[in-house]
């Protein structure tokens, strides 16, 4: 069953189309990656899924119901944003206590453990925390909420590599024991690639990739060799990217051609490279 179902979803602001006919499904009890460049429409989509914004047109269902002003649905959803705002006089412990009231499935013991894992000063006011520590508060709330649908939108501003690894490890561990639907939106594709079961790439408001993460990993390849040999091998498969130097050609292909690789080297393309090559280049906004 799907936790999220979206069909032909369009979101227009004045003179700007943020989402353009988006269709996707997030299966229940799975970890999904929502990837794309800044301004691609990821945050807009998550705001619509969590009832914070109303789409211009299209169908949106969360656990089978429209999320808009629907407390039965929204009580099962936790959305951790990039720069979450809390009442600044709150202490860490008070922020967690407030989250505990809002989340039906809250696990206080798990939250305590995460506070220790991230070495957070529980009695310090939020306004005195560093950027990374504030991000850790958001991550703790997202994980300890155990919400049936938990969305993390770039949750780790200011968090160092060690703290991010703590997040990934705790996420996997807790997901294994308490399966739920996780949507992770991030630019750190290499770091999260192995955690994901399903990947959706949004580019300029449209879905350009929607696939099983492990299948993607096996499909796309980087082919290098003499220009002639590479062209012969890649014939019929439109390259995502090509670069040429002194008669040597390298192309990134979305799938492996069904012919023997004669005189060319074929290497798998990392998820990060695949995403970069599948996304429109150049600055936007």
């Amino acid at each position: 069953m799907s936790a999220v179902f979206v069909e032909d979803l369009t979101m227009r602001y004045r003179g700007h189309t943020a989402l353009d006919g988006v269709g996707l499904e997030f299966q229940e009890n799975s970890i999904h990656g929502l990837l794309g460049r800044n301004g691609a429409g990821k945050t807009t989509l998550m705001r619509i899924l969590t009832g914070q914004e109303f789409a211009t047109s299209g169908r949106v269902e969360v656990f089978g119901q429209p999320p808009r002003e629907n407390s039965a649905v929204l009580s099962r959803v936790c959305f951790i944003r990039e720069s979450l705002k809390y009442p600044t006089n709150f202490k860490v412990r008070e922020a967690l206590a407030a989250a505990a009231i809002a989340c039906d499935a809250w696990d206080a013991a798990f939250a305590e453990r995460l506070v220790r894992d991230f070495a957070l000063p529980a009695h310090r006011p939020l306004k005195k925390l560093s950027r990374g520590q504030l991000s850790a508060v958001g991550i703790i709330i997202g994980l300890a909420s155990r919400a049936p649908l938990t969305l993390f939108d770039e949750p780790y501003l200011g968090l160092d590599a060690v703290a991010r690894q703590v997040f990934y490890d705790r996420l996997l561990e807790d997901f294994a024991e308490h399966p739920r639907t996780i949507v992770l939106s991030t630019h750190l594709i290499d770091e999260v690639a192995d955690l994901l079961e399903h990947v959706v790439l949004i580019d300029a408001g449209r879905v350009v990739i929607d696939a099983d993460a492990d299948e993607l990993r096996g499909q796309a390849v980087s082919v290098a060799g003499s220009a002639e040999a590479v062209s012969a091998y890649a014939q019929g498969v439109a390259p995502l990217h090509r670069s040429e130097l002194a008669g040597r050609l390298r192309v990134a292909l979305p799938r492996r051609p069904a012919r023997p690789a004669d005189g060319v080297s074929v290497e798998p393309l990392s998820l990060q490279d695949l995403i970069v090559f599948s996304t429109s280049q150049g600055d936007r906004k």
Binding site: S30, I31, Y168, D169, L172, E173, F175, A176, E177, D194, L195, L196, E197, A213, D214, E215, R217, G218, E267, P268, L269, S270
Partner: protein, 118 residues
């Protein structure tokens, strides 16, 4: 884990490797999906796919409510399959490179014999 190849395949190969080198014995218990996921830092569903692949291939078997175990003849099965793949995965690329360098099959044979003595 390497970049590139499907992770479920890499998980399956690692377990096969452990069976080949004897660190997983016949009828011994295999780590659980969640243990594998935590250890390799990968999605549990992906780890499960690797395990299931080996069950389909008859290399592991399931005891309900307990876990996964190494089939009695798992080592022979893995050996047989790896030997079949050896020509395709190792010898063929070797010969392709040899041809590019102007080495005949006879030259390669000599090199292999020499390599054995070193």
């Amino acid at each position: 884990m390497d970049d590139g190849r499907p992770l479920f395949q890499q998980i399956a190969e690692q377990i096969e490797g452990a069976i080949l080198d004897g660190s997983l014995a016949a009828d011994g218990q295999v780590p659980s999906t969640n243990e594998l996921a935590a250890f390799h830092r990968i999605n549990p569903a992906t780890a499960a796919k690797g395990i299931n692949q080996l069950v389909t291939d008859g290399i592991l078997y399931k005891k309900r409510g307990i876990g996964m175990f190494v089939a009695t003849d798992a080592r022979e099965r893995v050996l047989e399959r790896r030997r079949e793949a050896f020509g395709r995965d190792f010898v063929k690329p070797l010969l392709v490179e040899a041809r590019r360098l102007g080495l005949s099959a006879e030259d390669v044979k000599k090199l292999i014999e020499k390599g054995g003595q070193e």
